[in-house]
């Protein structure tokens, strides 16, 4: 078995090289497409390195750790950076490299009309993101993980606000930044507390400590909860989920890469990497599971009422992240990680497919689409493959991972949560096929021309009129097909080699395992199929009137349209709590701290004003002074004698 270190290190450093090239050499960046080709080439190299490294980790070896001390000290380095290569990290690395590479290729077509300079900027950000995400994935300790964690947050901010001339995009970028940052504060506190608690941040050392039981359980719950806060912020768990739908203001390829496949799953990945730590604190795991399941259901309900195709996908991402968290909370981190990988592939596929539609139609609204199947035959096949994966139909990518999560949650002893997730699965199938039927089938909506021209300004793509809608060019279609094939291959491979008992083995001893009933898997398929059936009856056959269906869920629909008022509550908390607090502190600074200084200076000014009046300018007053002074001097000398 060859050493995987070199290809992995190459995969990590090539995007950094690309970022430095584009960042430092301004003429190259201003080339636009040229910059894109450079970045794409290097990212293909990174993908090759990642694949080679991944292939070399078979069969699963001992984790390879490569460390360089960053802050050397006498008693061992204070901080170190490096690589931690094991099966999971290389698998994730392949996902990141694959999606990043495909998205960079796709962007060449999607951002065709972008000015050169901003296209170069886009690729510089993309390269930086790829590097930071890979650094996060390969991080051997929590410190490097945190640094890369913040870097990907920065890239997310920059790319959401890529069209910063649009007020909505700028606002969404800021919202995403501070919402995730609120969680990151928790993560930082957790890391510092962990350092105090265990004295090391190296994942392997920590794992050794945790599994040998040498980690004092007192206070560990606080640490894991703080770590979970960071993960919840990044992975858009309730109540931090509010930033993700707004983040759709960024270009669609960015949404596919950052807000579906890789960055938002960083929270899940963090929990997966530290599962042995969380296993010591079952109460925190319980929170993770419940919040995860709740998020899955809530986001699925929200997705049902959205009319913006990207918003539907965004809420669906939130929902799927909830699934992963629920699995991890039930003690089966492997199931969550498995779903992370399959979800990364098919959600990127869905986003890129949606991007193709938006590019062709020039609108985000599914009500402005319809009957696109005939004009975009490739896109519809790809999109349906992604949708079936997401819905969890057999032989597709998401089927087994979703089954495993359901089984893991049941095995973890949470049948209620399993039920909640089943309901969410039903809704998932429903809202995704609602999108499919409204977008690709049915009749083209009337009065499209005016609607499109009206909406063209508010959407990503260049305004195309719908009658000329066509399949995307090769540079965009090739990544789509590749992702669709990978997604199908995953589904078929795992159906062929069913790793069913895997989750049972992965479930921790600390969590009471309950035998999983055999009817769970068929039930999930039935539930998903009935969701598809309902969508078909409502939006295709129209045997069920959509408005009457909506009316049946009147209050829930109304609440969902208002996003359950969570945004408003958070905004209120932000305005009322954070801003009011900031104002109060500002007042103290302005009037108390500054007041003391101002009073002192005013006293000096007043004293000087008084003292100034001694200088009358009259000769005789000075003479008084001289005479009296002389007299006093003489008297003093006389006395001294």
């Amino acid at each position: 078995m060859a050493d995987p270190t070199l290809p992995i290190a190459t995969a990590l450093l090539l995007p950094l090289l690309s970022f430095l090239l584009l960042g430092v050499i301004a003429p190259l960046r201003r080339l636009g497409r040229g910059a894109g080709y450079v970045s794409l080439l290097l990212s293909c190299g990174a993908l090759a390195g990642a694949l080679l490294g991944w292939q070399r980790t078979f069969p699963e070896p001992e984790p390879i750790r490569l460390l360089t001390s960053w802050l050397p000290a006498h008693a061992g380095p204070l901080a170190s950076v490096g690589l931690l290569i094991d099966h999971a990290s290389t698998m994730m690395l392949v996902l990141v490299a694959l999606v990043s590479c495909l998205v960079q290729a796709y962007s060449l077509g999607y951002l065709h009309d972008e000015p050169r300079a901003s296209l170069g900027r886009y690729y510089a950000y993309q390269s930086l993101f790829a590097f930071s995400m890979m650094g996060l994935v390969l991080a051997p300790n929590l410190l490097q993980l945190f640094i890369c964690w913040e870097l990907v947050g920065l890239c997310s901010y920059l790319l959401i606000g890529f069209w910063y001339q649009r007020p909505a995009a700028a606002r969404a970028a800021v919202k995403a930044f501070w919402t995730t940052k609120a969680g990151d504060v928790g993560l930082l506190i957790g890391i510092v507390l962990l350092w105090r608690h265990a004295g090391t941040l190296e994942l392997l050392d920590l794992r050794l400590l945790a599994e040998s039981g040498r980690l004092a359980p007192a206070g560990l719950s606080v640490i894991t909860f703080c770590l979970y806060l960071g993960a919840a912020g990044k992975s858009a768990q309730f109540p931090f989920h509010i930033w993700l739908p707004d983040a759709m203001e960024g270009p669609t390829p960015v949404s596919a890469l950052i807000h579906a496949a890789t960055m938002v799953t960083a929270g899940v990945y963090l929990l997966f990497r530290t599962e042995w730590l969380f296993a010591l604190t079952p109460d925190v795991l319980l929170i993770v599971a419940f919040v995860g399941a709740f998020t899955a259901l809530m986001a699925a309900v929200l997705a049902c009422v959205q009319t913006d195709i990207k918003k539907v996908l965004a809420y669906s991402t939130v929902s799927q992240l909830g699934y992963m968290m629920a699995a991890i909370g039930s003690g089966a981190a492997h199931a969550g990680f498995f779903h992370l990988l399959t979800h990364g592939v098919f959600k990127a596929l869905l986003f890129l497919g949606a991007g193709a539609v938006i590019h062709a139609v020039g609108s985000n609204e599914i009500t402005h689409m319809g009957g696109l199947a005939r004009r975009m035959p490739q896109t519809v096949i790809i999109f349906v493959i992604g949708t079936l994966s997401l819905a969890g139909m057999p032989f597709f990518g998401g089927f087994l991972s979703k089954e495993e999560i359901l089984a893991a949650v049941w095995a973890g002893g949470h049948p209620v949560l399993c039920l909640v997730l089943l309901v969410a699965a039903f809704l998932t199938a429903f809202y995704m096929f609602r999108v499919v039927f409204l977008t690709f089938f049915g009749v083209p909506s009337e009065g499209r021309g005016s609607a499109v021209s009206h909406h063209a300004a508010a959407t990503d793509g260049p305004p195309h009129s719908a009658p000329h809608a066509h399949d995307p060019p090769l540079i965009m279609a090739a990544p789509l097909w590749l992702l669709a094939i990978v997604s199908m291959a995953i589904g078929l491979y795992f159906t062929w080699q069913h790793p069913a008992p895997e989750f049972a083995a992965a479930a921790r001893d600390t969590v009471a395992t309950v035998p999983v009933p055999g009817w769970l898997s068929p039930l999930a398929v039935v539930v998903a199929s009935s969701g598809i059936l309902l969508a078909w009856l409502t939006y295709q056959r129209r045997t069920i009137d959509a408005t009457r269906l909506a009316a049946a869920f009147g209050p829930i629909r109304h609440a969902a349209l208002a996003r359950f008022w969570i945004d408003d509550v958070v905004m209120l908390a932000y305005r009322g709590g954070l801003l009011a607090g900031a104002r109060a502190i500002g007042w103290v600074d302005r009037y108390l701290v500054d007041g003391v200084v101002n009073a002192l200076s005013a006293a000096v000014v007043m004293g000087a004003d008084r003292g100034r009046r001694v200088q009358t300018g009259r000769v005789q007053d000075y003479l008084y002074g001289v005479a009296l002074g002389l007299l006093a001097l003489i008297t003093w000398i006389g006395w001294a004698r």
Partner: protein, 99 residues
């Protein structure tokens, strides 16, 4: 008459001069008072010279009187110049250096 009588006279004249300098409003009056103070000094010089038997004090007094004359001439010239520019010779109205 002893030395102390002369010194007393000189002190009295000096005090009258000082009083004049600090109280007179008219600049010419102030100049006159300054003369009085100088004369008190002259009296002192002459008295010490007489009682110590040294003529140096007398010579010094003569020099002082000469210089005083020149100084008065200069002072009066300044007063005239002052009057021309400020249209006043009252000392308490001349306060350009007021802080």
């Amino acid at each position: 008459m002893g030395l102390s009588s002369y010194l007393t006279l000189a002190a009295i004249v000096f005090c009258i001069g000082l009083f004049g300098v600090v109280t007179r409003r008219n600049t010419v009056g102030i100049l006159l008072s300054v003369e009085l103070m100088l004369n008190a000094v002259n009296i002192n010089l002459v008295a010490f010279s007489r009682f110590h038997g040294q003529t140096l004090g007398m010579i010094f007094t003569l020099f002082a009187i000469c210089i005083t004359v020149a100084e008065v001439a200069l002072g009066l010239a300044l007063v005239i110049l002052l009057f021309r520019t400020r249209r006043t010779v009252l000392a308490d109205e001349i306060d350009l250096l007021k802080g």
